[in-house]
């Protein structure tokens, strides 16, 4: 500080806190509420409109026709089930890979290596999403891919493009989101609690089940929110490594030009599923962990 005011002035901003708050909020609120929430609201409204089969024009009459079509046509609810199945599988696979990795990072590796290991987990998050999916195209390609090459001496072929390819690729994409919260949870885990468990006669397996897992549960849920919801909305991965397999996002993407109301209705489904999931896990306290 070079100069000090001689008389306390307070200033306009301090005398009118409400006005100052309004000044801070006006621009961001115009952007987020008027532009963004407005767009979402318009999209939701569109979901209840239809398209005239002959003219292709949007008919602005409220109807549930789009949702009826999604839930009664087996082709569409098949896609819903498949998409949820993929998201669940991806979440479980991420968990299976992340638990030992995070345990190694937090409990086995020397503390001075931890920042490096965290950086090693984080770096792929910064590598372009599209590049990572493309990398898996090179890995999964039938006959000429890396996995096929690796398995061919055993007389096996790789999974190729399709359901399994999507699951592997999405697991790859979202794995760091599962590792980091579990790692953070494990570093917070007090040693005294583990010692107490051992003193009371629990072996490692029992300590893991009865002490570590319950404490880690909110971290796991926090990670699963990412892996689950990011998988639900994805469509690029299916386009690149999915072969003929499509997910909910692909249905939206295919329909949005010709039938926006139907695409809008389909787009609400992953949102509703994620909101249901969030409501279900809310009580675990995981939402404060993100």
């Amino acid at each position: 500080m070079t100069t000090v005011a001689t008389t306390p002035r307070g200033g306009f901003g301090y005398r009118h806190p409400r006005l100052r708050l309004a000044g801070l909020l006006t621009a961001p609120m115009l952007w987020l509420v008027a532009v963004y929430l407005g767009s979402l609201g318009a999209l939701l409204l569109t979901a209840f409109w239809t398209v005239d089969d002959f003219t292709g024009q949007v008919v602005r009459d409220l109807t549930l026709k789009n949702f009826q079509q999604v839930f009664t046509n087996p082709a569409y609810y098949g896609v819903i089930l498949r998409t949820v199945g993929i998201a669940v599988l991806v979440t479980l696979l991420c968990l299976v890979l992340a638990l030992p990795l995070a345990t190694f990072m937090a409990r086995v590796a020397a503390p001075r290596w931890r920042p490096l290991l965290v950086a090693l987990v984080l770096t792929p998050l910064w590598a372009s999403y599209l590049v990572k999916v493309y990398a898996w195209r090179a890995m999964l390609a039938p006959e000429e891919g890396v996995i096929s090459w690796f398995l061919s001496p055993l007389g096996l072929d790789g999974p190729g493009f399709g359901f399994l390819g999507i699951v592997i690729t999405l697991t790859y994409l979202w794995l760091p989101y599962m590792v980091l919260p579990i790692y953070a949870g494990l570093t917070r885990l007090p040693n005294s609690m583990l010692d107490a468990s051992a003193d009371l006669g629990a072996r490692n397996g029992r300590t893991f089940r009865s002490v570590v897992l319950p404490i880690l549960f909110p971290s796991i849920v926090a990670g699963s929110i990412f892996t689950f919801s990011l998988s639900l909305g994805d469509y690029i991965t299916a386009q690149i490594v999915g072969g003929k397999v499509i997910m909910l996002g692909n249905v939206v993407q295919i329909n949005y030009v010709v039938n926006l109301p139907f695409a809008a209705a389909v787009a609400t489904i992953p949102v509703i599923i994620v909101l249901l999931y969030l409501a279900a896990v809310r009580r675990s306290g995981a939402l404060e962990n993100i």
Binding site: M1, A5, T6, P8, R9, G10, G11, G13, L21, L25, P28, M29, W31, L32, V35, Y36, S39, A42, L43, A98, P100, F104, M105, R107, V108, P115, V121, T123, P124, W126, A127, S128, Y129, V131, K132, Y134, A138, M139, A141, G145, V146, W149, Y172, L175, L194, S197, A198, N204, S229, G233, I236, I240, G249, V252, Y256, A264, A267, P270, V271, V274
Partner: protein, 268 residues
């Protein structure tokens, strides 16, 4: 829980497998960029640097790179301003609707990209008469606000109000307090948030697809357009490899920043 030697060895092996899973595909990308073949075939029949030379001279790639940098820079700037304003409002005031606002900020990255994408696309084409580079920037800034906001809010909470009160007691007005006290203390958090926002925008493909005007090609869009063209595969491989190498940069910056920040500069 004292882990036995055996358990530790098993965990080390599993961690090694997980790290291999993470890094082998990235390694394949790097090697493929030097492949003498024209496809994604593995293993490469030979190595060459000719594709790197060709990619650097490629006008499409260069233009896409500049578009990406330009869009990410403007979107980051907008996000920095709006995110800082929001964090000051929510970090320093209690008011009706505060919780709802903090939810609205997160929504653009919490919802699937395709939902944000078609929602904005619908409104832009209906009310703004079409898509341009500005609609793309609006789309990107919308999901960048949250990362700036998160970093800035965490810092404001940690600072507490006492330094600002001291500044006011010494006679500074609100603007002086902001420019001389609050902002300098927030600076490293804003840099971290800005780096994150830039990275997020630079990498984004889904919202980009739905909000970019015709002919506007960012780098991810360029990759996407050329992904399925067999004769472009060598150039795509080089661009992909370059992006993998560049991704080390923000991690490095974040590690530098974390020296004055106890939370790893909020890299997530």
């Amino acid at each position: 829980m004292t882990l036995s030697r055996g358990t530790k060895a098993v965990l080390a092996v599993l961690a090694f497998i997980a790290f291999s899973f993470i890094y082998i595909p990235l390694g394949v990308i790097l090697i493929n960029s030097f492949s003498a073949d024209k496809g994604l075939g593995w293993p490469p029949s030979g190595l060459t640097t000719q594709w790197w030379a060709k990619a650097i001279e490629n006008d499409g790639v260069r233009e896409a790179l500049w578009t990406s940098i330009w869009v990410a820079a403007v979107a980051t700037l907008v996000a920095l301003v709006l995110g800082t304003l929001l964090s000051l409002a929510l970090g320093r005031y209690r008011f009706f609707g505060r919780e709802s606002i903090s939810l609205v900020v997160v929504l653009p990255i919490a919802l699937p990209g395709i939902v944000t994408g078609i929602a904005l696309n619908n409104v832009f084409t209906t009310f703004l008469g079409g898509l341009t580079i500005y609609t793309l920037i609006i789309g990107h800034a919308t999901f960048c606000i949250v990362v700036v906001y998160n970093n800035a809010l965490a810092r404001i909470r940690r600072l507490g109000g006492s330094v600002e009160e001291a500044s006011a007691d010494l006679g500074a007005n609100a603007w002086q307090t902001f420019t001389r006290v609050t902002f300098p203390l927030m600076r490293s958090a804003l840099v971290a948030g800005g780096v994150l926002a830039f990275g997020l925008s630079f990498d984004e493909i889904i919202v980009t697809t739905f909000t970019a005007g015709p002919g506007i090609t960012t780098l991810p869009i360029w990759i996407y357009q050329n992904l399925f063209r067999p004769n472009q595969a060598p150039i795509v491989n080089v661009v992909a490899a370059a992006l993998v190498i560049i991704s080390i940069l923000p991690i490095y910056i974040a590690q530098k920043l974390s020296s004055d920040d106890d939370r790893g500069a909020g890299v997530m």
